[in-house]
Symmetry: C2
Subunit: 182 residues, 2 copies
Protein backbone atom coordinates (compact mmCIF):
# COMPACT_ATOMS: atom_id res chain seq x y z
CA UNK A 1 0.00 0.00 0.00
CA UNK A 2 1.32 3.42 -0.92
CA UNK A 3 2.58 5.39 2.06
CA UNK A 4 0.35 8.31 1.05
CA UNK A 5 -2.80 6.17 1.08
CA UNK A 6 -1.85 4.69 4.41
CA UNK A 7 -1.15 8.04 6.10
CA UNK A 8 -4.39 9.44 4.71
CA UNK A 9 -6.22 6.37 5.95
CA UNK A 10 -4.93 6.84 9.48
CA UNK A 11 -5.70 10.56 9.35
CA UNK A 12 -9.26 9.67 8.28
CA UNK A 13 -9.72 8.34 11.83
CA UNK A 14 -9.02 11.84 13.17
CA UNK A 15 -6.41 14.64 13.09
CA UNK A 16 -2.96 13.53 14.19
CA UNK A 17 0.71 14.47 14.23
CA UNK A 18 3.47 12.49 12.57
CA UNK A 19 4.61 11.30 15.95
CA UNK A 20 1.13 10.01 16.75
CA UNK A 21 0.89 8.21 13.42
CA UNK A 22 4.12 6.45 14.30
CA UNK A 23 2.59 5.50 17.66
CA UNK A 24 -0.32 3.82 15.88
CA UNK A 25 2.21 1.64 14.07
CA UNK A 26 3.64 0.64 17.42
CA UNK A 27 0.27 -0.49 18.75
CA UNK A 28 -1.71 -3.46 17.42
CA UNK A 29 -0.96 -2.40 13.85
CA UNK A 30 2.71 -3.21 14.39
CA UNK A 31 2.04 -6.87 13.65
CA UNK A 32 0.82 -6.11 10.17
CA UNK A 33 2.66 -3.05 8.98
CA UNK A 34 4.89 -0.19 9.97
CA UNK A 35 6.38 3.01 8.56
CA UNK A 36 9.48 4.76 9.89
CA UNK A 37 9.79 8.45 10.79
CA UNK A 38 11.98 8.76 7.71
CA UNK A 39 8.92 7.89 5.64
CA UNK A 40 6.13 9.47 7.67
CA UNK A 41 7.48 13.03 7.96
CA UNK A 42 8.38 13.56 4.28
CA UNK A 43 5.08 11.95 3.24
CA UNK A 44 3.07 14.36 5.43
CA UNK A 45 5.02 17.31 4.02
CA UNK A 46 4.28 16.21 0.47
CA UNK A 47 0.61 15.58 1.23
CA UNK A 48 0.40 19.07 2.71
CA UNK A 49 2.10 20.68 -0.30
CA UNK A 50 -0.49 19.04 -2.55
CA UNK A 51 -3.41 20.03 -0.25
CA UNK A 52 -4.40 16.49 0.65
CA UNK A 53 -3.99 17.45 4.31
CA UNK A 54 -4.02 20.73 6.20
CA UNK A 55 -1.74 21.48 9.13
CA UNK A 56 -2.08 23.42 12.35
CA UNK A 57 1.06 24.13 14.31
CA UNK A 58 0.63 24.04 18.08
CA UNK A 59 3.61 25.85 19.50
CA UNK A 60 4.84 24.28 22.69
CA UNK A 61 7.30 26.10 24.94
CA UNK A 62 10.76 25.03 23.75
CA UNK A 63 9.68 21.65 22.32
CA UNK A 64 9.42 21.50 18.53
CA UNK A 65 6.02 22.67 17.31
CA UNK A 66 3.48 19.88 17.23
CA UNK A 67 2.12 19.77 13.69
CA UNK A 68 -1.37 18.32 13.69
CA UNK A 69 -2.55 17.23 10.26
CA UNK A 70 -6.17 17.03 9.17
CA UNK A 71 -7.28 15.22 6.04
CA UNK A 72 -9.02 17.45 3.46
CA UNK A 73 -11.89 16.61 1.10
CA UNK A 74 -9.33 16.30 -1.68
CA UNK A 75 -7.36 13.92 0.56
CA UNK A 76 -10.41 11.77 1.29
CA UNK A 77 -11.03 11.49 -2.43
CA UNK A 78 -7.44 10.50 -3.18
CA UNK A 79 -7.53 7.88 -0.43
CA UNK A 80 -10.77 6.34 -1.68
CA UNK A 81 -9.58 6.39 -5.29
CA UNK A 82 -6.31 4.70 -4.38
CA UNK A 83 -8.01 2.06 -2.23
CA UNK A 84 -10.44 1.28 -5.01
CA UNK A 85 -7.86 1.04 -7.79
CA UNK A 86 -5.40 -1.05 -5.77
CA UNK A 87 -7.85 -3.27 -3.87
CA UNK A 88 -7.36 -6.28 -6.12
CA UNK A 89 -3.60 -6.21 -5.81
CA UNK A 90 -3.78 -6.72 -2.04
CA UNK A 91 -5.65 -10.01 -2.26
CA UNK A 92 -2.46 -11.99 -2.70
CA UNK A 93 -0.44 -10.14 -0.09
CA UNK A 94 0.52 -10.80 3.51
CA UNK A 95 -0.60 -13.61 5.76
CA UNK A 96 0.13 -16.06 3.05
CA UNK A 97 0.86 -13.70 0.27
CA UNK A 98 4.15 -12.44 -1.03
CA UNK A 99 5.08 -10.09 1.75
CA UNK A 100 5.60 -12.24 4.81
CA UNK A 101 9.21 -12.13 5.84
CA UNK A 102 9.48 -14.70 8.56
CA UNK A 103 12.98 -14.87 9.92
CA UNK A 104 11.69 -17.39 12.44
CA UNK A 105 10.68 -19.80 9.68
CA UNK A 106 14.09 -19.33 8.08
CA UNK A 107 15.71 -20.21 11.40
CA UNK A 108 13.61 -23.39 11.52
CA UNK A 109 14.69 -24.17 7.97
CA UNK A 110 18.33 -24.21 9.06
CA UNK A 111 17.70 -25.55 12.56
CA UNK A 112 19.79 -28.66 11.93
CA UNK A 113 22.90 -26.48 12.03
CA UNK A 114 22.15 -25.32 15.57
CA UNK A 115 22.75 -27.25 18.83
CA UNK A 116 19.61 -29.00 20.08
CA UNK A 117 19.67 -27.07 23.34
CA UNK A 118 19.72 -23.79 21.43
CA UNK A 119 16.71 -24.82 19.38
CA UNK A 120 14.92 -25.99 22.50
CA UNK A 121 15.43 -22.61 24.15
CA UNK A 122 14.40 -20.80 20.97
CA UNK A 123 11.19 -22.81 20.66
CA UNK A 124 10.35 -22.31 24.33
CA UNK A 125 10.81 -18.57 24.02
CA UNK A 126 8.82 -18.53 20.82
CA UNK A 127 5.91 -20.18 22.63
CA UNK A 128 6.14 -17.65 25.46
CA UNK A 129 6.28 -14.82 22.95
CA UNK A 130 3.24 -16.07 21.07
CA UNK A 131 1.27 -16.48 24.31
CA UNK A 132 2.10 -12.89 25.18
CA UNK A 133 1.04 -11.75 21.69
CA UNK A 134 -2.21 -13.64 22.08
CA UNK A 135 -2.96 -11.85 25.34
CA UNK A 136 -2.26 -8.51 23.68
CA UNK A 137 -4.69 -9.24 20.86
CA UNK A 138 -7.38 -10.40 23.26
CA UNK A 139 -6.90 -7.52 25.70
CA UNK A 140 -10.04 -5.40 25.83
CA UNK A 141 -9.22 -2.85 28.53
CA UNK A 142 -8.50 0.85 28.12
CA UNK A 143 -5.91 2.09 25.60
CA UNK A 144 -4.22 5.50 25.10
CA UNK A 145 -6.24 8.14 23.26
CA UNK A 146 -4.38 7.83 19.95
CA UNK A 147 -5.26 4.18 19.62
CA UNK A 148 -8.85 4.43 20.76
CA UNK A 149 -10.14 5.49 17.34
CA UNK A 150 -8.83 2.26 15.88
CA UNK A 151 -10.35 0.05 18.53
CA UNK A 152 -13.83 1.21 17.66
CA UNK A 153 -13.54 0.19 14.02
CA UNK A 154 -15.48 -2.94 13.05
CA UNK A 155 -12.62 -3.97 10.81
CA UNK A 156 -10.21 -3.86 13.75
CA UNK A 157 -12.37 -6.30 15.72
CA UNK A 158 -12.39 -8.57 12.71
CA UNK A 159 -8.62 -8.41 12.30
CA UNK A 160 -7.97 -8.92 16.02
CA UNK A 161 -10.19 -11.98 16.04
CA UNK A 162 -8.41 -13.37 13.00
CA UNK A 163 -4.99 -12.69 14.47
CA UNK A 164 -5.97 -14.40 17.73
CA UNK A 165 -7.24 -17.46 15.89
CA UNK A 166 -4.04 -17.68 13.83
CA UNK A 167 -1.79 -17.37 16.87
CA UNK A 168 -3.76 -20.04 18.74
CA UNK A 169 -3.44 -22.39 15.80
CA UNK A 170 0.29 -21.69 15.59
CA UNK A 171 0.75 -22.34 19.30
CA UNK A 172 -1.15 -25.63 19.23
CA UNK A 173 0.79 -26.79 16.20
CA UNK A 174 4.15 -25.89 17.70
CA UNK A 175 3.41 -27.65 20.96
CA UNK A 176 2.19 -30.81 19.25
CA UNK A 177 4.81 -31.05 16.50
CA UNK A 178 8.03 -29.57 17.82
CA UNK A 179 9.38 -33.08 18.43
CA UNK A 180 9.42 -33.63 14.66
CA UNK A 181 12.18 -31.05 14.20
CA UNK A 182 14.81 -33.35 15.73
Amino acid sequence: MQKETLCLGLLSLGPRSGYEIKQMFEGPLSDFYSLSFGTIYPTLNNLQADKYVSCKQHSQSKKPDKKVYTITKKGMELMKDNLLSDASSYIRSGNFGDQIKSEFFLLLLFSKYLPKETMNTVLNERVLYLRQKLEQFKYDGPVPGNLDAMRNEKSVSFIRGLASALIETGLNYMEKNRGKLN
Copy 2:
Protein backbone atom coordinates in the same frame (compact mmCIF):
# COMPACT_ATOMS: atom_id res chain seq x y z
CA MET B 1 18.42 -12.73 8.49
CA GLN B 2 21.55 -11.49 6.78
CA LYS B 3 21.55 -12.11 3.04
CA GLU B 4 24.94 -13.84 3.34
CA THR B 5 23.69 -16.32 5.95
CA LEU B 6 20.61 -17.01 3.88
CA CYS B 7 22.52 -17.63 0.62
CA LEU B 8 24.99 -19.85 2.46
CA GLY B 9 22.08 -21.73 4.03
CA LEU B 10 20.53 -22.44 0.66
CA LEU B 11 23.90 -23.44 -0.78
CA SER B 12 24.31 -25.84 2.15
CA LEU B 13 21.55 -27.90 0.51
CA GLY B 14 23.74 -28.36 -2.56
CA PRO B 15 25.68 -26.36 -5.22
CA ARG B 16 23.55 -23.86 -7.08
CA SER B 17 23.67 -20.83 -9.37
CA GLY B 18 22.29 -17.42 -8.48
CA TYR B 19 19.41 -18.02 -10.84
CA GLU B 20 18.58 -21.29 -9.09
CA ILE B 21 18.72 -19.61 -5.66
CA LYS B 22 16.17 -17.11 -6.95
CA GLN B 23 14.02 -20.03 -8.11
CA MET B 24 14.01 -21.45 -4.58
CA PHE B 25 12.55 -18.15 -3.41
CA GLU B 26 9.80 -18.51 -5.96
CA GLY B 27 8.82 -21.95 -4.68
CA PRO B 28 7.26 -22.65 -1.27
CA LEU B 29 9.79 -20.33 0.36
CA SER B 30 8.15 -17.37 -1.39
CA ASP B 31 5.51 -17.21 1.32
CA PHE B 32 8.09 -16.56 4.00
CA TYR B 33 10.94 -14.69 2.39
CA SER B 34 12.50 -13.56 -0.83
CA LEU B 35 15.63 -11.92 -2.18
CA SER B 36 15.92 -10.12 -5.51
CA PHE B 37 18.55 -10.67 -8.18
CA GLY B 38 19.93 -7.30 -7.22
CA THR B 39 20.75 -8.77 -3.81
CA ILE B 40 21.63 -12.36 -4.75
CA TYR B 41 24.27 -11.72 -7.41
CA PRO B 42 26.35 -9.14 -5.51
CA THR B 43 26.10 -11.28 -2.35
CA LEU B 44 27.44 -14.34 -4.17
CA ASN B 45 30.29 -12.27 -5.62
CA ASN B 46 31.23 -11.00 -2.15
CA LEU B 47 30.98 -14.47 -0.62
CA GLN B 48 33.27 -15.77 -3.35
CA ALA B 49 35.81 -12.96 -2.85
CA ASP B 50 35.99 -13.88 0.84
CA LYS B 51 36.26 -17.64 0.09
CA TYR B 52 32.97 -18.56 1.74
CA VAL B 53 31.92 -20.16 -1.54
CA SER B 54 33.79 -21.49 -4.57
CA CYS B 55 32.59 -21.09 -8.12
CA LYS B 56 32.71 -23.23 -11.26
CA GLN B 57 31.79 -21.58 -14.55
CA HIS B 58 29.91 -23.80 -16.98
CA SER B 59 30.17 -22.17 -20.35
CA GLN B 60 27.04 -22.55 -22.43
CA SER B 61 26.99 -21.79 -26.13
CA LYS B 62 26.03 -18.12 -26.38
CA LYS B 63 24.09 -17.97 -23.11
CA PRO B 64 25.91 -16.27 -20.21
CA ASP B 65 28.14 -18.66 -18.29
CA LYS B 66 26.28 -20.51 -15.59
CA LYS B 67 28.18 -19.91 -12.37
CA VAL B 68 27.60 -22.75 -9.94
CA TYR B 69 28.57 -21.91 -6.36
CA THR B 70 29.60 -24.44 -3.73
CA ILE B 71 29.78 -23.62 -0.04
CA THR B 72 33.28 -24.02 1.49
CA LYS B 73 34.24 -25.21 4.99
CA LYS B 74 34.86 -21.58 5.89
CA GLY B 75 31.39 -20.78 4.56
CA MET B 76 29.74 -23.52 6.61
CA GLU B 77 31.43 -22.14 9.71
CA LEU B 78 30.30 -18.58 9.01
CA MET B 79 26.74 -19.76 8.41
CA LYS B 80 26.61 -21.74 11.66
CA ASP B 81 28.20 -18.91 13.65
CA ASN B 82 25.72 -16.40 12.27
CA LEU B 83 22.73 -18.66 12.91
CA LEU B 84 23.86 -19.25 16.48
CA SER B 85 24.54 -15.62 17.32
CA ASP B 86 21.32 -14.32 15.75
CA ALA B 87 18.94 -17.13 16.73
CA SER B 88 17.40 -15.26 19.65
CA SER B 89 16.61 -12.21 17.56
CA TYR B 90 14.37 -14.24 15.24
CA ILE B 91 12.01 -15.36 17.99
CA ARG B 92 9.94 -12.22 17.77
CA SER B 93 9.83 -12.02 13.99
CA GLY B 94 7.37 -13.01 11.30
CA ASN B 95 4.04 -14.78 11.62
CA PHE B 96 3.06 -12.55 14.43
CA GLY B 97 6.28 -10.78 14.91
CA ASP B 98 7.35 -7.44 13.60
CA GLN B 99 7.89 -8.30 9.99
CA ILE B 100 4.50 -9.17 8.61
CA LYS B 101 3.49 -6.60 6.07
CA SER B 102 -0.07 -7.46 5.28
CA GLU B 103 -1.51 -5.14 2.71
CA PHE B 104 -4.64 -7.26 2.83
CA PHE B 105 -5.19 -6.47 6.51
CA LEU B 106 -4.66 -2.78 5.76
CA LEU B 107 -7.30 -2.99 3.07
CA LEU B 108 -9.70 -4.52 5.60
CA LEU B 109 -8.85 -1.70 8.01
CA PHE B 110 -10.08 0.84 5.47
CA SER B 111 -12.80 -1.32 3.96
CA LYS B 112 -15.54 1.11 4.97
CA TYR B 113 -14.30 3.50 2.28
CA LEU B 114 -14.88 0.91 -0.43
CA PRO B 115 -18.21 -0.02 -2.07
CA LYS B 116 -19.75 -3.16 -0.54
CA GLU B 117 -19.68 -4.95 -3.86
CA THR B 118 -15.96 -4.30 -4.20
CA MET B 119 -15.29 -5.72 -0.75
CA ASN B 120 -17.47 -8.69 -1.52
CA THR B 121 -15.48 -9.46 -4.64
CA VAL B 122 -12.20 -8.91 -2.81
CA LEU B 123 -13.18 -11.30 0.01
CA ASN B 124 -14.38 -13.93 -2.47
CA GLU B 125 -11.11 -13.75 -4.38
CA ARG B 126 -9.13 -13.85 -1.15
CA VAL B 127 -10.90 -17.07 -0.19
CA LEU B 128 -10.16 -18.58 -3.60
CA TYR B 129 -6.55 -17.47 -3.31
CA LEU B 130 -6.15 -18.99 0.15
CA ARG B 131 -7.71 -22.29 -1.00
CA GLN B 132 -5.22 -22.39 -3.84
CA LYS B 133 -2.34 -21.65 -1.43
CA LEU B 134 -3.55 -24.42 0.84
CA GLU B 135 -3.48 -26.89 -2.03
CA GLN B 136 0.06 -25.80 -2.88
CA PHE B 137 1.26 -26.37 0.66
CA LYS B 138 -0.40 -29.78 0.85
CA TYR B 139 0.79 -30.89 -2.57
CA ASP B 140 3.11 -33.86 -2.23
CA GLY B 141 3.80 -34.80 -5.84
CA PRO B 142 7.03 -34.37 -7.79
CA VAL B 143 8.84 -31.00 -7.88
CA PRO B 144 11.66 -29.63 -10.08
CA GLY B 145 15.18 -30.67 -9.15
CA ASN B 146 16.17 -27.39 -7.53
CA LEU B 147 13.39 -27.60 -5.01
CA ASP B 148 13.72 -31.27 -4.22
CA ALA B 149 16.53 -30.75 -1.68
CA MET B 150 14.24 -28.54 0.34
CA ARG B 151 11.33 -30.97 0.33
CA ASN B 152 13.40 -33.63 2.04
CA GLU B 153 14.25 -31.43 5.01
CA LYS B 154 12.40 -32.29 8.23
CA SER B 155 12.09 -28.59 8.97
CA VAL B 156 10.32 -28.03 5.67
CA SER B 157 7.68 -30.66 6.53
CA PHE B 158 7.20 -28.90 9.84
CA ILE B 159 6.84 -25.49 8.22
CA ARG B 160 4.49 -26.77 5.53
CA GLY B 161 2.27 -28.35 8.15
CA LEU B 162 2.22 -25.16 10.16
CA ALA B 163 1.47 -23.03 7.10
CA SER B 164 -1.40 -25.35 6.12
CA ALA B 165 -2.89 -25.19 9.62
CA LEU B 166 -2.66 -21.38 9.63
CA ILE B 167 -4.30 -21.03 6.23
CA GLU B 168 -7.12 -23.39 7.20
CA THR B 169 -7.77 -21.37 10.34
CA GLY B 170 -7.75 -18.14 8.32
CA LEU B 171 -10.19 -19.58 5.79
CA ASN B 172 -12.62 -20.81 8.43
CA TYR B 173 -12.49 -17.50 10.25
CA MET B 174 -13.08 -15.48 7.08
CA GLU B 175 -16.03 -17.58 6.02
CA LYS B 176 -17.67 -17.42 9.43
CA ASN B 177 -17.03 -13.77 10.24
CA ARG B 178 -17.02 -11.84 6.97
CA GLY B 179 -20.53 -10.62 7.68
CA LYS B 180 -19.19 -8.62 10.61
CA LEU B 181 -17.29 -6.30 8.28
CA ASN B 182 -20.47 -4.60 7.10
